[in-house]
Symmetry: D2
Subunit: 355 residues, 4 copies
């Protein structure tokens, strides 16, 4: 059995890691790190875990933890891991970081969008961006994986094949995203109170949300050139789920008869299938389908649908994930599976729960 430690085990993403790893055949959790609840029974903090987890919360001493486990998950605020990670640690354990510390290759971009100094930029080059469906081979060899953000996972995977294949113009891409409230974390903040969120919807972080440069960097790799987009997140009165509605202008492509024309639905579908046909966790619902977040709740699936508008020459892409699973803990486990050579679906064959 692989031994795992979690730093930040009492946030929502950390708790979801616990839920998933309890069903993983090859892993046992040895360290429930939580600065806020040291020495408290984990099942007192998350009473759904009563009689399932007997452990007590420990502090976040990563040096000590590295000696005791084979893999560390950090579900911590931005800057934490960058401040404590060392080469020594990486020689002892594999690390899957659910924070943003190693997602952006350009330290300047990181420091500008996050407003903090990066304490260990020397690991940026080595860190692998853990979007498994795109970077699978690099993840397998990685010591340090930067687990993608929730919005970014959904936004990137929904658009990737169409940008890679040149079917849409990246300069026209607009991502209008909607998230459940667990994405805001378990901090006791007024805007996240039930009465403030319930019966309400709003945009936030308009033009400034930190997932923007992450989406841009990854889609830039697909495009082969820098991409600048608009990304607008919204807070939805539900616990889980992200829906990304994406708009882009289609590009004329060479057709069989040599002429240039906008791609058909079949050609769009073919582009998706080229990259995702064998991807278990990506479900291509097809043209005309509108994914619903409830269809993926509790699972590691990404559901994708699209609709072409011949009137405007645009395509509307729609992707849905569970922000805590494929958008956080599930993808982290998927990355761990790749890093340790386990079957990629181990622990992740979670059937979506409806209703």
């Amino acid at each position: 059995m692989v031994k795992a430690g979690i730093i930040g085990a009492t946030g929502y993403a950390g708790a979801e890691l616990v839920r998933i790893l309890l069903g993983h055949k090859e892993v046992e959790i040895k360290w429930y790190g939580s600065r806020s609840y040291i020495d408290e029974a984990y099942s007192k903090v998350y009473q759904n875990m009563f009689q399932l987890v007997e452990d007590t919360c420990l502090d976040d001493n990563i040096g000590e933890l590295a000696k005791q486990v084979d893999v560390i998950f950090t579900a911590t605020p931005q800057g934490f891991l960058a401040g404590v990670l060392t080469e020594e640690i990486l020689q002892q354990v594999k690390v899957v970081d659910l924070s943003a510390d190693y997602r952006l290759k350009d330290v300047g971009v990181y420091e500008k969008w996050y407003g903090i100094t990066h304490k260990s930029p020397q690991f940026l080059e080595e860190a692998v961006y853990g979007l498994c469906e795109i970077n699978r081979e690099q993840v397998k060899k990685a010591r340090l994986v930067a687990n993608p953000g929730c919005y970014t996972t959904c936004s990137i995977l929904t658009a990737w094949p169409l940008i890679k294949e040149g079917l849409i113009d990246p300069a026209t891409l607009i991502v209008d995203a909607k998230s459940g409230t667990s994405g805001a974390g378990r901090g006791a903040k007024l805007p996240n109170l039930f009465c403030e969120v319930n019966e309400n919807i709003k945009a936030y972080g308009v033009t400034t949300h930190r997932h923007t440069p992450e989406i841009e960097e990854q889609l830039g790799y697909a495009a082969g050139e820098p991409v600048t987009i608009n990304f607008t997140p919204h807070l939805v009165p539900m616990n889980r789920g992200i829906l990304a509605t994406e708009y882009a202008s289609l590009k004329k492509i060479r057709q069989e008869d040599g002429s240039f024309a906008l791609p058909t639905g079949g050609q769009v579908m073919a582009a998706y299938e080229k990259y995702y046909k064998d991807e278990y966790f990506i479900r291509l619902l097809g043209e005309g389908a509108c994914p619903e977040t409830k269809w993926v709740e509790g699972s590691n699936f990404v559901d994708i649908g699209f609709q072409i508008d011949p009137r405007t020459g645009r395509i509307i892409l729609m992707g849905a994930i569970d922000n805590l699973v494929k958008g956080a803990a599930g993808q982290a486990v998927q990355n761990m599976n790749l890093m340790f050579g386990f079957p990629e679906q181990e622990g992740l064959q979670l059937v979506p729960m409806f209703p």
Copy 2:
């Protein structure tokens, strides 16, 4: 006292008309029309009205109704009013139609998007599109007002001044809208069941929603040329509220020094104020503000904010309304006030309810 009749009084929009008119000093409801509940006490259908409404539901005989009242509100399915309206009726009463029958001037567009034959196109020219803030003077003289749709009211008012003033390029306009579930009506349909909507979000009617041509027609008047847009509605797990998030490329405008540059936040705000400064029901929250549907719940307000993105040259506009008030019954009463010469705010000084 003006006497009012409502046809379709037991739908959500009809019931909201009742709620608002009960607080209107100049009007009394004399006819609660409801094909489904004939002879049943209205307060049995809407038990919130217990002891407030003593009347029984009547059928939808508009000819008889026209003889008894001064104004008729039709909160009925598409095609109903077009099928029964006559010149004789219009000579007897004023009509505010909450359906789409007289919203589109081009009968061909109506028949294409709604899939039904228009039975009385002869009234299309006369009908006034009842977006009070834009068409106030025509409404005052109207016999027949086409009350705008919920999505359209929010979408149009949020963009109108910027298109009118040439600050944005209409061809780039994308409206991503989110609505509470009351917009789907009170019909007993599976997709509107609590368990299907709760903890879920989805897009629907992508590229085909019937409010699209209505937005295009009205914004076309502002632009002085035909406008074609993308409009995507989403269903949100809440009862009330519409949020429209709109994206458009800014157009360079002549600056004081003679050069051309993208408009500043101040210039955008000035455009809004030019048209809305004295509009009681439009609240300009300003640059950087993100309206929330909860801030307008139960009221006739439209809250508008915006954010410029210098990175992409786009502006993101955000508008919020209560879909049943400014998006339906409230605006219908506002239209009636104008038609009868009542103070425009009469019955509509509804303070938003929070939480």
Copy 3:
């Protein structure tokens, strides 16, 4: 115009006072007291009030406030008013206290259940318990009114006539109550986060909730002897509303033929009507009716229904209110209306909002 000051204007109950008083013809708010937001615009704290309230929050200097206004509402934590109230203040202004400080006549009971020392027990005798339908005449003459708690208002009014008339045995009374989350206040506490409350229901404060002795004291007056009950509150994933489901054994009463038998539905209804027939804010739905909190949302109504179970000899009483209106701010305004000789319904003819 009567001038009003609110201390604690930025809690949910305080904000509801603002909402209601904005529609009151005889009152204007001169002081928005809020220790947490001094010098901030009130409409920044509650953005639903944008352009409706221009004032800035002030501190909670009750001495200064007493000189400037005619009535003070205190929507403050337990112990605040008791710590600052003086005879001098009461000689200058009328006070409606929404906290529990003067609700219980027995200072020992207060100190035991609330766990704090009462700083001004000398006003306990004078204070009038502001349950308007029961204590109307005393309220009219009061300087200091203790506005009843939310659970208590609903629980007491639902049972009062049956206890007063001896139809039920008070010793068997069990109140199982369910409340929306606004009852927990606007404090940023983990248990009130959206994700903790949504899709969840729980009991809390079982056998220890502070509204218990308040219900017991008032029902004791009706019974003419001390009453001890079980009261169990539950937290429901909704913003507003309280439903009290009450169980009690019926007592045999003398029938017309001289025999003793359990009361009929008609006799129960007659008891309710004896006390509530002319009460505008109490709506007797009748035997077999199950009130729903949505039917009273936003209004000052109390809806009451009941069902007799001949199998067990018990009666089940059900009462529903909006916890922020009849359970707090609405009743406070109703009390103020009585104290100042205004029509009792002034500002309170709020039609319930559905959906």
Copy 4:
């Protein structure tokens, strides 16, 4: 592999059976019966099952089905199974009936509460009431198991040990229960629309709910004498979960010193442990704990807590389940596991999902 057929596979309980059985190592589903969706792809009806279930819905021909599978689950309306069950079928397959048809031993009680004639009372005696923790040994040998109702499972298990041990007086038992909306089924009915349920709570079926005699019968076995109770269900704006809050007077019991006194918390806990100590699916949270439905969501657990009130001599018991799992499909699978000799937890080690 055991072959299973489901009749009523497209209701919420049927769909939950599918979700659970997809993770069961010993079972494969061969028949998705659904009268409403014959020949439609199951994953079109429940799109969460896209790419997980390839089958098409079949009709509900139980005779044909019995020849093809080893076990049949009927998640059908009352009266269906009673109308079609035969000895021949029972000789071919085991049957787990999720309807009420064989739950009540007394056909007269069934016919009175359900208002229909029982078509096959000859199987009533044979049918085993499938409350696994109570009737485990009989279930193991059963051909026909009557799977308990959702409310009843929760209500009975929460009270059983205390009645069995004589710690509470059954005549005083009152069950106030709260359920998520999935308990109302997937039928397209107005009262179950999102806008009718959201932001609302109500009691329903007061004194007449059909789960009442089922609770009474089972608790009567524990008491050794007939039990008559009050049971009041409430509809809560959430998808899943049942919370039962139960009230009963404690009975004095002989203490170690020979005197008689009310039981202590320790004595109550001992009674629970006597029956449930080794029950994996029952989690005893202990004295003072208030279970929350979210702690068991998606799992087969029953969480139980209690509180003694020395002031009234009553005890308040609280039990929480997921109505679709332990209250329906999970318990059905648990019964099947017992009937086929599989490990009782197979397929049911579902970690509760939070949030």
